[in-house]
């Protein structure tokens, strides 16, 4: 069927954009949703769905678990048991198919696991959750948002606690997991798959849209069960996250989804190339849709009454191999002798945090470092506002949405060339992640010369206006149209 040519969309009217087939219903599968996020995935899902809904797309979004406090008035946000998030649009009930039996070996744990936890952290979290004993958590987990939400107790009911007590989960690192994921993440993926198929396959939708590998098995199963076209959205690849320790099982699940998808959305050309190289997928079905950012007023108060030191350089992200926190420390060691009154803020949690802290102490840089842990909400905004410079030294970064957020707070950015965001932002200081001297050269000059920061921000702010989520939504709708199969 032919779709009408695209016409400029007027966001002020409540009408669907004229180029959208009426009705366009999307069943979307995700793994996390703000404010309970561990990485950029949830933020991207929120931005994209908000813009899609604004253009008249009807979205049912399913995550394994709701934690309370999710704000999703623009769509219907479900957990895998089909419980609707408070305040989200009620689509009415859909007929349920017969509940599928769970394999006996699967433990009865809801899908609350963070895919970013190591097996050790996972085990520790389970123990603490079971006994509701926060103090037993190591510092890296105490600040973990998922763990925190779980322990705060508003997340799971009595049933779960008793279930956990009765069935001791088996937490074993798989043979090829590279030690980062417990076996249970796969059980969670399996459970999510079964729940989604049993509770959502009778819904009325046109296209399935799945975000990252954890949802791929569910998406493929749903597509096979319903015959609806499948779009998979790659925010990051196992290859990017894992570095040398590739988890072959995740890699296989990822490939399974990519092969079965009718169309693939990649968040950057960088990611598209990775998909082509590592999964041998033809570039023809991969479409690049860069992430966007919502502009907002800069929280200038923090800047004005700043109790912060003269110069603040910010790193923000998971403290893992992929994000290059170790490079951040080495760069700091080069900068501090020349600019003694600088504070390096390394915000985030992750498996490398203890190593990174140890290195900071070893280099004698503790006075110039701050580790506030995982930040969100107002604390995060304050950090972005007071920072003179945001540094993203990622070894491999499919997109890097935090760089856009930093710019939206008028903070200039240094980004690694190994990032998707460097494709869309020209007005940034760009450097190879391994080039520590160059990065230090950038930081010192940016701190010493306000005019450099001023010009970077002035120009980047203009670029940001063109990176609106609405642009990403229009491109995504094009992808939907490509795969849409009208009923005969």
């Amino acid at each position: 069927m032919d779709f009408p040519r695209y016409a400029p969309y007027n966001p002020n009217t409540k009408e669907p954009a004229p180029y959208i087939r009426e009705p366009m219903k999307i069943l979307m599968l995700g793994w996390e949703y703000p404010p309970h996020i561990a990485g950029g995935l949830g933020t991207a899902c929120q931005g994209l769905t908000t813009a899609l809904a604004g253009q008249g797309v009807d979205i049912h979004f399913v995550v394994p678990q709701l934690f309370g406090g999710e704000r999703a008035e623009h769509m219907s946000l479900f957990d895998a048991k089909r419980t609707l998030a408070v305040g989200s649009q009620d689509p009415g009930s859909a007929p349920e198919v017969a509940e599928l039996a769970l394999p006996v070996s699967t433990t009865r744990i809801p899908a609350f696991l963070s895919p970013y936890w190591s097996p050790g952290q996972f085990k520790e979290a389970l123990a603490a959750i079971t006994h509701q004993h926060v103090a037993s958590l190591s510092p890296s987990l105490r600040n973990d948002p998922v763990a925190r939400a779980l322990i705060d107790g508003d997340v799971f009911g009595i049933d779960l606690v008793s279930a956990l007590e009765h069935e001791q989960p088996t937490v074993v690192a798989g043979e090829n997991t590279g030690g980062r994921y417990g076996r249970d993440i796969f059980e969670e993926v399996e459970r999510f798959t079964l729940q989604v198929v049993s509770r959502f396959s009778k819904d009325d939708f046109d296209v399935i849209h799945a975000h990252d590998w954890m949802t791929f098995p569910a998406a493929v199963a749903l597509s096979e069960a319903t015959g609806k076209p499948l779009v998979v959205h790659v925010h990051s690849l196992e290859h990017d996250r894992a570095g040398l320790f590739l988890n072959t099982q995740i890699n296989e699940i990822e490939r399974f989804g990519l092969v079965h998808a009718d169309s693939i959305v990649a968040v950057s050309y960088f990611t598209k190339r990775s998909i082509e190289t590592h999964h041998k997928i033809s570039g023809g079905k991969i479409h690049v849709v860069h992430n966007g950012v919502y502009s907002h007023d800069v929280a200038s108060e923090s800047r004005e009454h700043k109790t912060w030191p003269e110069h603040v350089v910010l790193f923000l992200g998971r403290v893992t191999f992929q994000k290059g926190p170790d490079y951040f420390v080495e760069v700091a060691a080069r900068v501090i002798p020349h600019i003694p009154d600088v504070l390096f803020v390394l915000a985030g949690s992750g498996d490398m945090l203890p190593v990174v802290k140890e290195r900071v102490e070893q280099l004698g840089l503790s006075r110039n470092f701050m580790f506030p842990g995982f930040m969100k909400g107002e604390e995060l905004e304050e950090l972005f506002s007071v920072a003179d410079l945001y540094v993203m030294p990622s070894v491999s970064e499919p997109f890097g949405i935090t760089a856009l957020e930093a710019i939206s707070f008028d903070t200039p950015v240094i980004i690694s060339k190994q990032s998707g965001v460097s494709e869309v932002i020209e007005h940034a200081l760009k450097v190879d992640f391994w080039d520590i001297d160059r990065m230090a050269d950038f930081i010192i000059n940016a701190l010493e010369h306000p005019e450099l920061r001023h010009d970077l921000v002035a120009m980047a702010r203009e670029e940001l206006k063109k990176l609106h989520w609405d642009v990403a939504a229009v491109k995504t709708i094009e992808v939907y149209h490509d795969v849409y199969r009208p009923e005969m």
Partner: protein
């Protein structure tokens, strides 16, 4: 009898290396000799040498009816002498025909006219000396760096003894007036010769528009159409247009070869050098410039070099250093070298690379820049200036540079 005034700009800067913050205090070789050599040799082979040959033949064939003018910066001459002496000789050969005029400008292609009149005058005088030495004639017509011009600049040029000055024929300055006549600097006898930017850009930017190349006869016919409505048509171009910006394969050198004959095929038209035109033509009136103009970018103003904070701060810093050198009798070797470095750092190209304009203009700036981005250009430049300033500040401790701190011991 109307005339075409063909003028070519020849300039090569001393480009900076990717000088890092960690080079400060460690090394003082700021300029990328290898890169500068490679670029100069490339441009000499693609443009200077073959295009000069074309011009020389055209002058001989036309028995002197074909004439052109050049302005060649000091930094270009120095680098030609060092890396491609045959290119410099081919310019000298052109000079000997008597049909080629060499215009005055600043030796270092600097923006000193906007910051430091005294330094500006010194660089113009250095350049005039150089022209006389290399080509045997002292310039009588002036063109400022990148055609930067204002009423103040026009007035000052008259006082420095030049007969005429070149400027961009900007629409908003000209209003209803035509660029194709000789004008006069307000309240002075200095003539003002304007660039016809439409016809100049037809060669510089639109030579290969629409697939094919511009033919010399078509182009000459556009000039001939101006008969009865023009005294002098100023075609001012970067010389690198011929063979470098447009490669030889585009037919640009063949165009240059045929152009003189095509223009002269109409008996009414001839070629004229700027000095000839200034002597022959009387001004049709005074022309006052309401703003600072140049031949760069779409705005044709100073924004290509002074458009952002990085550029303004960098320029401010380098001209603050003037106090180290002005009013001092400099004889000392180290001092002379320091001043030479200071002047090379004034070359406008360094600021041009820092330009952050987008799209059309930005692409042109990036085309010329040896740096990945305007920010890289700014950082390398800032590091160099920091080291240079530190070296100068250190000077009093070393006897050779004591003059920097103490001032002249001997008055000339």
């Amino acid at each position: 009898m109307p005339a075409v005034c063909l003028y070519f700009q020849v300039h090569q800067p001393y480009r900076l290396r990717h000088y890092s913050y960690f080079d400060i205090g460690e090394r003082h070789d700021y300029f990328d000799e290898e890169l500068n050599k490679a670029i100069l040799r490339r441009v000499a082979e693609r443009c200077y040498i073959p295009a000069n040959k074309v011009l020389l033949e055209a002058i001989r064939q036309s028995k002197g009816a074909f004439k052109v003018a050049f302005s060649i910066t000091g930094t270009a001459i120095e680098q030609m002498r060092a890396y491609a002496p045959e290119a410099l000789e081919s310019f000298q050969e052109l000079a000997q025909t008597g049909c080629v005029e060499f215009l005055g400008e600043t030796y270092y292609h600097s923006l000193s006219s906007l910051y430091d009149f005294r330094e500006w005058a010194a660089q113009i005088s250095m350049h005039s000396d150089l022209m006389e030495r290399e080509f045997g004639v002292r310039p009588t017509v002036f063109r400022n760096t990148e055609l930067l011009y204002s009423d103040d600049i026009g007035a000052a040029i008259g006082e420095l003894g030049f007969k005429a000055v070149l400027a961009e024929g900007v629409d908003d300055v000209l209003g209803w007036r035509s660029p194709n006549f000789m004008y006069r600097v307000p309240n002075a006898n200095t003539k003002l010769l304007l660039k016809n930017y439409k016809l100049s850009d037809d060669i510089a930017f639109r030579f290969t528009n629409g697939g094919g190349s511009l033919s010399p006869t078509t182009y000459a016919s556009w000039i001939h159409e101006l008969s009865g409505n023009a005294d002098i048509v100023g075609l001012f171009l970067d010389y690198e247009t011929f063979g470098e910006h447009h490669r030889e394969e585009s037919g640009i050198l063949a165009f240059l070869k045929k152009l003189p004959e095509a223009v002269l095929s109409n008996q009414e038209w001839r070629f004229s050098t700027p000095t000839e035109a200034a002597e022959r033509l009387s001004a049709v009136g005074e022309l006052s410039f309401s703003r600072l103009t140049s031949w760069a970018d779409t705005r044709r103003d100073e924004s290509a070099w002074l458009g952002n904070e990085m550029q303004r701060k960098s320029l401010g810093r380098i001209y603050d250093a003037a106090t180290l050198f002005h009013g001092r009798y400099i004889q000392d070797e180290a001092m002379t070298a320091a001043r030479e470095t200071w002047r090379r750092l004034q070359t406008s190209d360094h600021y041009y690379y820092m330009c952050t304009k987008g799209y059309g203009d930005g692409i042109v700036h990036q085309y010329f820049s040896p740096f990945e981005s305007p920010y890289d250009a700014f950082i390398a430049y800032s590091n160099v200036v920091k080291d240079f300033a530190a070296e100068c500040a250190r000077a009093p401790k070393t006897p050779t540079l004591r003059v920097l701190a103490e001032g002249p011991r001997v008055q000339p």
